[in-house]
Amino acid sequence: MSIGLQTSPPEAPAVATSAHLSIRNVSKIFPGKGGLFNKLTGKSTSDFVAIEDMSLEIEPNTFVSIIGPSGCGKSTLLSIIAGLSSPTFGQLFLNDQPIKGPGADRGIVFQNYALMPWMTVEGNVRFAVETVNPKLSPGQQREIVRQALELVNLTGAARKHPHEISGGMKQRVGIARALAINPKILLMDEPFGALDALTRGFLQDEIERIWEQDRKTVVMITHSIAEALLLSDKIVMMTRGPAAKIAKVLDVPFPRPRNRETIDEHPAYHDLKTEMEHHLTLETRAVEEDRIRKLSRN
């Protein structure tokens, strides 16, 4: 167990900064192009139901992964939780407050890092800190940035620009930026999807280490079964889109802190892994068959 970098004592996890997320009957429908003009020009499209009537309760201090076949609306769901897009029907609540738009109570880690290329590593994190805490003194802001970079082991790269560092380092900046604003909930959209397998494993270990420190509520979108099993307390499996739904929620009972090398020795590991593989394979096959059928019809 490595807790060398902690600034607060480990026996007092910051429960106050964690949150309960409630997703109630949420649907997302992207309206098609209707109207006479579009009909005449052959451009009319039908409505697209991305998510249909989804309900989910996410308890405080829980690490939840959402996994499903491609195109199942996982990213749509995350951007609804983030407030970057709004649900067509239904409501979301964070600690019983309705989510009405984006806000700094939710920290987001983007798949493609979304770092501003003209800002340094330190500048990217400081932009978030200054925006969220405009009343703190510059010295206090710098101290928060310094701690965030220390947490992800990037102190030495603070003055580098994003194009000068590796993909793994970029995503660590993304994580530092999301955590520096001390959100109640951390949202991660396939955070390691753009990384090679070895870097991905290294960052998963980093996330596991960081998460152990304050056990913030996390919602992570992923494609990887091993990643979900290593990091999550709960795994939400989704059906294929359109009109994606929750197929099943799995409890992951492995004790923490977890270690990727020994985690598969737990008696429940193989059953969980097989169940997920079975579900995802069936759904992915159905998605592919749908696509082929659609192509051969045209």
Binding site: W118, T131, H163
Partner: protein, 271 residues
């Protein structure tokens, strides 16, 4: 470790030295052909040869600042006059085009509404504005500046609006997710993100301004363009060639300043 030395390429034979050698070789051949051709009168009767032209070039560049009245000024004075007109017109154009481009680029409605004006006016030859300028201002100096302004405004305006309208939406999502106020998003995210486009717009505009000033000055009274026109009236071709060379060099310098500026704001992005 064995005692083998690392094989190193010959420092005197590489792509750089080869291209420099080819440059000087082709320049030499060109000058010799010119010298011979002019002496043999194969181009046109009275065409100056290379040595006369180079002597003139040396004389004009070593005596840039003399002033014997409006039709006999050193090329340095004429260059400064042209640069001053370009500087005023170009700066005014940029001060209009950049803020306007940002405002147009931010709003999709404005982008569509103003696009027809820009598309209509952009392809108009700068010289078509000359009679209008002379009629409005009744002054050659102000007309020159006006022509520069009206012709160098479009590339900057178009590139700025395009850059702002096409900022990577992820940057805007980052700002939105933090609850960033609108003005802070514009100044801290949208403008820096669009800066490579803005600077390449400014670079194209500068190129156009420098192209246009020479043409416009032929019909005005002073400057490098008028210098060429004056030498045409004197029918002294070597000085025309000298002026062409100097215009090219100055244009090259202006362009490389903006090229360096582009690199400065790109931060690893392709401009």
């Amino acid at each position: 470790m064995t005692n083998r030395s690392l094989p190193r390429p010959n420092p005197w034979v590489n792509e750089t030295t080869k291209s420099i050698a080819l440059f000087f070789l082709s320049l030499g051949i060109f000058l010799l052909f010119w010298e011979w051709g002019a002496n043999a009168e194969i181009f046109a009767k009275g065409m100056p040869n290379a040595s006369t032209t180079l002597k003139e070039l040396w004389w004009w560049t070593t005596n840039p600042f003399f002033d014997n009245g409006p039709n006999d000024k050193g090329i340095g004075w004429n260059l400064l006059i042209s640069l001053r007109r370009v500087a005023i017109g170009y700066t005014a154009a940029s001060l209009i085009a950049v803020p306007l481009g940002i405002m147009i680029g931010i709003s999709k409605v404005a982008y569509r509404a103003f696009n027809p004006y820009v598309q209509l006016l952009k392809p108009v030859s700068p010289l078509a504005w000359l009679p209008l300028g002379l009629y409005i201002f009744r002054d050659s100096e102000q007309t020159g500046v006006f022509i520069i302004l009206i012709s160098s405004i479009w590339p900057t305006l178009i590139n700025t609006a395009f850059g702002v309208a096409n900022v990577n939406p992820e940057y805007v999502d980052v700002a939105r997710s933090l609850g960033t106020p609108r003005l802070r998003t514009i100044f801290k995210v949208i403008i820096p993100a669009a800066l490579p486009n803005i600077v390449s717009g400014l670079r194209i505009s500068m190129g156009i301004a420098w192209l246009v000033i020479v043409a416009a000055e032929m019909l005005l009274g002073t400057g490098l363009g008028y210098f060429i026109w004056n030498e045409w009236n004197n029918l002294y071709i070597p000085n025309i060639l000298v002026a062409i060379f100097i215009i090219g060099i100055v244009g090259l310098l202006l362009d490389s300043i903006f090229g360096a500026l582009e690199n400065l704001v790109s931060f690893g992005r392709k401009a």
